[in-house]
Amino acid sequence: MNAAAIIFYAISALILGAGILAVTSRKIFRSAIWLLASLVGVAALYFWMQVEFIAAVQIIVYVGGIVVLIIFSIFLTHQSGQDLPKPILKRTIFSGLAALLGLGFSYNLIREYGFQPTTIPFTPTVSDIGTQMLSPTEYGYVLPFEVVSMLLLAAMIGCIVIAMKPPSETITIQSIPAQDPVKGKINIKEPEMMEEL
């Protein structure tokens, strides 16, 4: 076994071990940290494969974005410092089954196609990735790219709409309550219910 293989197995062991700890830990914050370790391990695997761009994106998106969001939501929940209750047996069994199914599925795929060693040098530069991403020719990704950006735009507008107070209603709240507080209250409630419906 040469040094590259040792590094590969060490990183893989880190990913799997941290993943198992993330699932089994009884403290929710520690789970998040183990998840983080697992994701950093995946990034390390990309670095080991010398696809640095993907590794950096993995860190930015998953570690800097998603795990931070997860930690924030943990902070905002009540009693995040206490141990979680033991999971119900039924749930444990079903999640185990789901994991086994996934394992079987990927094993089946690998057994069918296998890993074919290739001699073509694999040196994608960042500009290659960018060109491919925005190329309108065959095997270019401009359409999915634009569709995804539309989706993100829609999500952003949705966020703004949810967060925004209806401007006309705020004026009624400020002006009306002095004479007619009841009417003012009704005015506030109505649009919220409309949105929920």
Partner: protein, 358 residues
């Protein structure tokens, strides 16, 4: 002429001639790690002393002046005191994460050192995504802070960590966008190529007004990202005692303290590399004679000169401006810096496509 490149090359040749390649590589790793740790220690001592002296001068005081000539050994004495101090772990803290957090913050700072070009041909790892690597790794630092805040089992720490998280996550955007403006102008993410592209002038001067706007936004955003005043809400003394490191003492506190200054150094080094040409001497277009005179100053002096100028700028901010409130902080980012930097990026792209820059 003095150059670090020659020294490193001769050391490498000697190592590979004397030992077999694996051992030589390992020895090189050891040397690099040793140098990095030495740099950290020296920077910590120098920057803390510099901060105190600058603060004193700006507040019409003398600053530390008792330990050694002009108070030179003040920070050394402080470090000794911190090493001797007991590192307490509070009752009810998550001990594992509590002890892990300062090391994470420190390791992140160490990783950030890798792609920085200190002088001509003197760089640990010239990774081809240099700038992106820095952005990616620096987003890890917030994890250490959140971890410290949560594991301390203290409301001040928790509040400080959350503020710091919100702050870093939002200011990363405008810092990233202002970095991208230079990437657009250069056409490369690699640090060595970015420096090489400033052969005939620094981007701050070559890129017209958009580059200057990007530079200003970058400096503001990194000041916020390193949690320094006027954006030091995360450790606002008057409100949160010391924020996320309230419960830390002794060497673990020292690691947080050191990491703050190392991070300042690193962001200023990145700023100097992107906007002020890194180790590249001040060159003006085709003035051959002037450029040659400038080349006589060693590149390492240029690099540290620029970096320390930016550090001084950030210290100047700290001792001039009052602390922002959290809503003002987020307003500044989302209503001013982000739209301006987006518009600025558009402008720079137009300039780069039309080739209007020098």
């Amino acid at each position: 002429m003095f150059s670090l490149e020659g020294i490193t090359n001769s050391i490498q040749e000697w190592l590979f001639a004397t030992f077999n390649p694996t051992v030589a590589l390992l020895i090189q790793f050891a040397i690099v790690i040793l140098l990095a740790i030495t740099l950290f220690a020296v920077l910590g001592l120098v920057l803390v002393l510099m901060e105190r002296k600058v603060a004193a001068r700006m507040q019409i005081r003398l600053g530390p002046n008792r330990v050694g000539p002009q108070g030179m050994f003040q920070t050394t004495a402080d470090t000794l005191k911190l090493i001797m101090k007991e590192g307490l772990t509070p009752d009810g803290a998550d001990k594992f994460l509590f002890n892990l957090a300062p090391y994470i913050v420190m390791i992140v700072a160490m990783l950030l050192l890798a792609p920085i070009a200190f002088a001509k041909g003197f760089q640990i790892w010239d990774i081809n995504i240099g700038v992106l690597y820095v952005t990616a790794i620096s987003s890890l630092a917030v994890i250490g802070i959140l971890m410290a805040g949560w594991a301390s089992n203290n409301k001040y720490s928790m509040l400080g960590a959350m503020r710091s998280g919100a702050q870093i996550v939002s200011y990363e955007l405008s810092a990233g966008l202002s970095i991208i403006t230079i990437v657009v102008l250069t056409g490369s993410l690699q640090i060595s190529e970015i420096v090489a592209s400033q052969q005939n002038g620094w981007w701050l001067f070559k890129g017209h007004i958009p580059a200057i706007i990007a530079f200003v936004i970058f400096i503001i955003a990194v000041t916020a990202e390193t949690n320094r005043a006027p954006f030091d809400l995360a450790e606002a003394e008057s409100e949160l005692t010391a924020g996320f490191h309230t419960e830390y003492s002794g060497m673990k506190f020292a690691l947080f303290f050191l990491a703050e200054y190392i991070n300042i150094f690193i962001v200023c080094a990145i700023g100097a590399t992107l906007f002020l040409g890194g180790w590249m001497p001040l060159h003006i277009g085709s003035w051959e004679g002037f450029n040659r005179i400038m080349d006589y100053i060693p590149s390492v002096v240029w690099f540290f000169g620029k970096t320390f100028f930016l550090i001084f700028l950030i210290m100047w901010f700290r001792w001039t401006f009052p602390r922002l409130r959290i809503d003002q902080l987020l307003n500044l980012e989302w209503k001013y810096l982000l739209p301006i930097s987006l518009f600025n990026l558009l402008l720079v792209t137009v300039i780069a496509i039309l080739g209007w820059h020098f």
